[in-house]
């Protein structure tokens, strides 16, 4: 399958008054056409910043420091702002994390949807654009979409707003949607429906998905590949089967143990010991070393580099257990 997105050694740092924050620090991964990739990690691990780096919307004091992002073989980091604008919302869409803040409070839903189409197709008629918006709203499970389009965001619940945002991302049938916690604001029944719709879209139109979440269980159900992020780095990536059933990195193992369905009934939930470190004062060496159960001397001195275990499997650890052996 053809690769749609290839990120190599991407570093996005924030130069704040309090100090340097390496929000994304040397990450590499690929997404193939139509593939669903999960990006999993705790709060503050750099998932959203990874997404914003891809669509080129990192605000000061942040900056992409080095690395490369290739989208359909086009290097995005050298692209002009006009070029980026024509890709955004068109070939490359993003669903933001907080649906309550994402829609403009003073513009009607139809305005905010139609402009997404018109920004990329100057010649389309209003009626045609309206029809496409209405149909897409219907697709994400909003009833009587024609009426709802006349409403303002505050007339919608959080879940409804998130579905509007999902619809907006799907409008131009992009090649890649970065979905930042797209279903967290939805209740469980709708969650299933929206996940199903997005999966269908990917199948039908060949849209690839980067599914950002802290919920390993959700992503295990839909993704074909998972990247696990910790403190700005991807510590382990591989196929869903490998990550879920044969995790090797101590952090991934901890994560999987803390998923409720992995536990026996009545047993207390497993929890990774210690706290997520502050991004301003990451421990020297491996950022995970003071919480890790496998720490060796080297972990406290050096940062582990990425090692390829197989074609798709990459691990960043000095002392992981290769359970395949």
């Amino acid at each position: 399958m053809e690769t749609i997105l290839e990120i190599k050694n991407l570093k996005t740092h924030f130069f704040t008054k309090a100090g340097l924050i390496k929000a994304v620090d040397d990450i590499s991964f690929k997404i193939k056409k139509g593939e669903i990739v999960g990006l999993v990690g705790e709060s503050g691990s750099g998932k959203s910043i990874t997404g914003f780096s891809i669509i080129g919307l990192i605000d000061a004091p942040g900056r992409i420091v080095s690395g490369s992002i290739n989208f359909k073989n086009e290097p995005l980091l050298n692209a002009s702002s006009n070029r980026m604008q024509s890709l955004r919302g068109n070939r490359l869409a993003m669903i933001f994390q907080d649906p309550m803040m994402t829609l403009n409070p003073v513009l009607r839903i139809d305005t905010q949807m139609i402009e997404t189409i018109k920004a990329h197709d100057k010649n389309i008629s209003n009626q045609e654009a309206f029809r496409r918006c209405r149909d897409t709203l219907g697709l994400v499970g909003i009833s009587s979409p024609e009426e709802r389009m006349k409403a303002y965001p505050h007339q919608f619940s959080g879940g409804m707003r998130q579905r509007v945002c999902i619809a907006i991302a799907m409008l131009n049938k992009p090649d890649l949607i970065i979905a930042d916690e797209p279903t967290t604001a939805l209740d469980v029944t709708i969650q299933g429906q929206v996940i199903y719709e997005m999966q269908e879209l990917c199948k039908k139109t060949g849209t690839a998905l980067l599914w950002i979440t802290h919920d390993l269980a959700v992503v295990a159900g839909i993704a074909s590949k998972i990247c696990v992020m910790y403190a700005g780095r991807i510590v382990e990536q591989g196929s869903v089967d490998d990550i879920i059933n044969k995790p090797m990195h101590p952090y991934t193992i901890g994560l999987i143990k803390s998923v409720p369905s992995q536990n026996k009934r009545g047993e207390p939930l497993h929890q990774i010991e210690g706290m997520v470190p502050s991004m301003l004062e990451l421990p020297i060496g491996c950022a995970f070393h003071d919480r890790c159960t496998e720490t060796i001397e080297n972990c406290k001195i050096e940062k582990p580099i990425e090692t390829n275990q197989s074609d798709s499997r990459v691990i960043r650890c000095f002392n992981f257990k290769d359970i395949r052996k």
């Binding site: 919307l57 604008q85 955004r88 403009n104 402009e115 997404t116 303002y152 505050h154």
Partner: protein
């Protein structure tokens, strides 16, 4: 919406009622009403006659009722100086003041909003810093002094623009204003610019503050993520949001533009009600002062109502709460 306007209107009536009480008390309870309402040059027989006529010998509650009824009929007393009803004098001069205030509002908006947005988008640039420094200057220079400088420079030294009066008055769709003739425009320009200067600074600051806050909102970023052109992000997504506080402040400040146009009107001999009130204070023409106060209060109340309506039109979130 209708319910909202009705509710706000009834609130306005209550405010007006309270103000009438205050103005009435101000004139009738504090100090001697005889002295305040009767021309000091009148003789004893005249004084007695007017006391009877004004009902000043009646109990205070009855007097208030009398004042209220008269005010309701549009009778706020007769000017000592002009011998004409005070209200009529003020209404005659009102258009000149309103056109001056409107034009200066127009000047301040077309300059201040773009400048404020620019300063908000690029707070670190040299141009922005110059804009902000300039706005502090506009804030702190006394209006009358700037007005006199304007006259000296543009009217006396360069001789480009006239320095006093309202100029020729044109008529358009039944509205008479000096904005409709070239001569009138040349007359209004300097006083309007003078009056605008203060507003210019405050609108620039307000726009800049609004821009700096809104530009970091997620919905602006999301608009960009949709590939919407930067011009549309600024002119639609950003502007529509910062207009909400701007309209509120402008609406309220328009009242103060009118109320404080007195200085500018005096400097430029602009025949509006501001100049009338200064002359009346100078001449102790009390009925005119009372009438002016009442008119200004009505004006403020009306403006508040207008601002609230505009506000609900701009901000859909308020609209819904209002109609529920």
């Amino acid at each position: 919406m209708t319910a909202f306007i009705l509710r706000r209107s009834s609130q306005s009536i209550i405010v007006l009622f309270i103000m009438s009480l205050l103005v009435f008390s101000g004139v009738n309870l504090v100090g001697d009403p005889v002295e305040m309402l009767i021309n000091p040059e009148a003789d004893q027989a005249e004084v007695e006659r007017v006391i009877k006529e004004l009902g000043l010998d009646k109990p205070i509650t009855e007097q208030y009722w009398y004042f209220l009824m008269n005010a309701f009929k549009g009778d706020l007393g007769t000017s000592f100086i002009f011998g004409e009803p005070a209200l009529k004098l003020i209404v005659q001069r009102m258009p000149a003041t309103i056109e001056l205030a409107l034009f200066s509002l127009f000047i301040s908006l077309i300059f201040a909003i773009p400048l404020g947005i620019y300063a908000g988008l690029k707070p670190e640039s040299k141009i922005s810093k110059t804009i902000m420094a300039g706005s502090i200057l506009g804030f702190s220079m006394p209006t009358f002094w700037v007005g006199i400088l304007f006259i000296m420079f543009f009217a006396v030294y360069l001789g480009w623009l006239p320095s006093t009066g309202r100029g020729e008055i044109g008529s358009f769709l039944g509205v008479k204003s000096s904005l409709f003739t070239l001569d009138g425009l040349s007359h209004i320009f300097l006083p309007a610019l003078n009056l605008a200067l203060f507003k210019l600074s405050s609108v620039i600051r307000l726009t800049r503050a609004g821009t700096r806050e809104i530009i970091h909102q997620d919905y602006i970023k999301f608009a960009r993520a949709k590939g919407v052109a930067e011009s549309r992000v600024i002119n639609v997504h950003l502007l529509k949001n910062i207009l909400i506080p701007i309209v509120t402040i402008i609406g309220l400040e328009f009242g103060s533009l009118i109320a404080f146009s007195t200085v500018t009107e005096t400097v430029f001999a602009w025949p509006g009600m501001g100049k009338l009130i200064i002359d009346s204070i100078y001449n102790l023409d009390r009925p005119v002062i009372v009438a002016y106060l009442m008119i200004i209060v009505i004006f403020f109340v009306f403006l508040n109502l207008l601002v609230d309506i505009l506000y609900t039109l701009l901000d859909p979130r308020v609209r819904i709460q209002g109609s529920n």
